[in-house]
Amino acid sequence: MSKFIWAWTWFALLLALDIAIPWFVLTRVERVNGAFLFWTVWVAVAIISVFVIFLKWSEMEQ
């Protein structure tokens, strides 16, 4: 699979977790370490993924 397809697949997985975990796994957890903590960690993972990809970009002639 190309990097392009890998990246889209990873993004789709992140979006699936965005719904699945808070509404189906943590829906009865009325604490800060429920949906609040999940979303904070989840987006941190997404941000790190973006850094991993763009840090490989190289300068080019214009």
Partner: protein, 500 residues
């Protein structure tokens, strides 16, 4: 001296610094449309990151998102962080926009669509979409400033006066040096936004005994707000998708931010812009949501949730000086968004509608003059909308849902943008029909309040839009030559820069 005096003093200092920065930016202003609207595509990474942040984050955050958190709990965090997760798509779109912007000299994202689909009508349709749906979004910013100044001054500054101040600053800073003045004032304002909001949150959390005690109190006072759906039924999956879907594609659907993808001066500046924005966004979102939660503890039972921030700022635990500085920070967030929107709309009108359809032979100077006239006209239209909406109550007229509703309309351009970069078979009729019908569906559902199956207007509009885009494209003739030249160029350059 009275609170009102100090509020006016703070506003005066803010305006003076902003005007000073804008005038400094004017000294660097060259000639031409690309210079005025894109700072000649020579913006460094630091300023690019801050102008992108200030354009994206507005009064919506510390007023609207805080209000939504106040009334609907942790779902508001998920909704806003879904937008930030959507920034993952920048790894695909940022290099693509940037590369074709340089190659073909595009001024606006709509011009890109016109050229790629070989039809002026595609750009004009997307331009009209932006002109219509960015009005409520701009109006929301005016409302935010109005509420805030009114709240902090304990009612002595009327809401409408706050809105007038925002409107005048906007017109001035957009016109003084185009994107240069907007980007420089944005950079200043982004720093003010994040520093002041972090400071005031620190004061509030400290007054509640620190983070551990703050979270403990939240769990015992409002446990229902820490889960989705909330105890009161807010943030069902349908509500979440309805609000978050337009937000997810905000980075390409909103032209005031996608136009920013043309401006970094190099790949390094592009990386700094993206990285800087992600860090800024993460911090600012957490601050805004925690601020909303602190309002649930300190000022429970407010009738209008959007007043949570102004009310919180008037509490005795917050020193008056800090409250005024925070008010300036939120005002800065609003104005930095409005001036960017208006500058983009002026370029869109001048390039994609006036030059594209009305007067193709217009000179560059004439095009610039037309664009500069659009700024005050659009400001007045948005101001009138804000005045009307500020008097209304209910979820639909809260800042966050109103902002998301505006983006639901802009979402209808997303399939056409995807098609431009990734689908050679995409056609101009497909793009035009999907944008128009999708927008009509969104407007119709928003006006009537109709939600079949409980799905929100943006969700229905997007489904209809995607089906029409694919269906009509497959049954019409694509601009093959342009599509191949456009995508072949991108493929070659993407490989060269190690983009994906």
């Amino acid at each position: 001296m009275s609170t009102t005096f100090w509020v006016w003093f703070g506003i005066a200092v803010y305006i003076a610094v902003g005007v000073g920065i804008a005038i400094m930016a004017r000294r660097q202003l060259g000639a031409g449309v690309s210079e005025f609207f894109l700072a000649n595509r020579r913006v460094g990474g630091f300023v690019s990151a801050l102008t992108y942040s200030a354009t994206t984050y507005s009064a919506f955050m510390m007023v609207g998102l805080a209000g939504l958190t106040y009334v609907s709990g942790v779902g508001a965090l998920g909704f806003e962080l879904t937008y930030l997760c959507g920034m993952f798509m920048m790894v695909f779109f940022l290099p693509r926009f940037w590369l074709v912007g340089r190659k073909y000299g595009y001024i606006s994202p709509m011009e890109l669509l016109s050229d790629r689909y070989q039809s002026k009508w595609v750009g004009a349709t997307a331009a009209i979409l932006a002109l219509v749906f960015l009005v409520p979004y701009t109006a929301v910013q005016f409302i935010g400033v109005g509420y805030l100044m009114n709240g902090i001054s304990q009612g002595t500054i009327p809401v409408v006066v706050g809105m007038i101040i925002a409107a005048l600053c906007t017109i001035a800073w957009s016109n003084i040096a185009g994107l240069r003045s907007v980007a420089w004032t944005d950079a200043f304002q982004a720093l003010v936004m994040v520093v002041t909001s972090a400071a005031v949150l620190g004061v509030v959390v400290a007054s509640l005994g620190g983070f551990s005690s703050f979270f403990g109190k939240l769990e015992s006072a409002s446990p229902g707000l820490l889960t989705v759906p909330t105890a009161k039924g807010a943030f069902s999956i349908n509500m979440f998708i309805g609000l978050a879907l337009p937000w997810l594609f905000f980075l390409i659907s909103n032209p005031q931010v996608s136009q920013r993808l043309f401006i970094p001066k190099s790949v390094t500046a592009m990386k700094q812009m993206l990285g800087g924005f992600l860090v800024f966004g993460f911090i600012y979102t957490l601050i805004s949501v925690l601020w909303g939660f602190s309002a649930t503890l300190l000022v429970p039972g407010l009738e209008k949730a959007d007043l949570a921030t102004p009310t919180l700022l008037t509490l005795p635990i917050i020193p008056m000086g800090l409250a005024i500085v925070v008010m300036i920070g939120i005002t800065a967030a609003a104005i930095s968004t409005i001036d960017s929107i208006l500058l983009t709309l002026s370029s869109v009108w001048a390039r994609d509608i006036h030059k594209g359809l009305i007067n193709p032979k217009i000179s560059e100077a004439g095009e610039l003059r037309v664009g500069q006239w659009v700024i005050p006209i659009m400001t007045i239209i948005a101001f009138i909308f804000a005045w009307w909406a500020a008097g209304k109550t209910g979820l639909a007229f809260m800042i966050a849902p109103l902002s998301s509703a505006a983006s639901a309309g802009l979402l209808m351009a997303v399939p056409a943008i995807f098609g431009a970069f990734f689908w050679k078979r995409a056609t101009a009729p497909g793009a035009i029909v999907s944008c128009i019908v999708g927008a009509v569906v969104v407007l119709l559902f928003q006006v009537t309040g109709w939600k079949p199956l409980g799905w929100w207007p943006g969700t229905w509009g997007f489904i209809v839009c995607v089906i029409l885009f694919v269906g009509v494209s497959l049954s019409t003739k694509p601009p093959r030559e342009k599509a191949e030249e456009f995508m072949d160029y991108l493929q070659k350059k993407l490989k060269e820069g190690k983009f994906i």
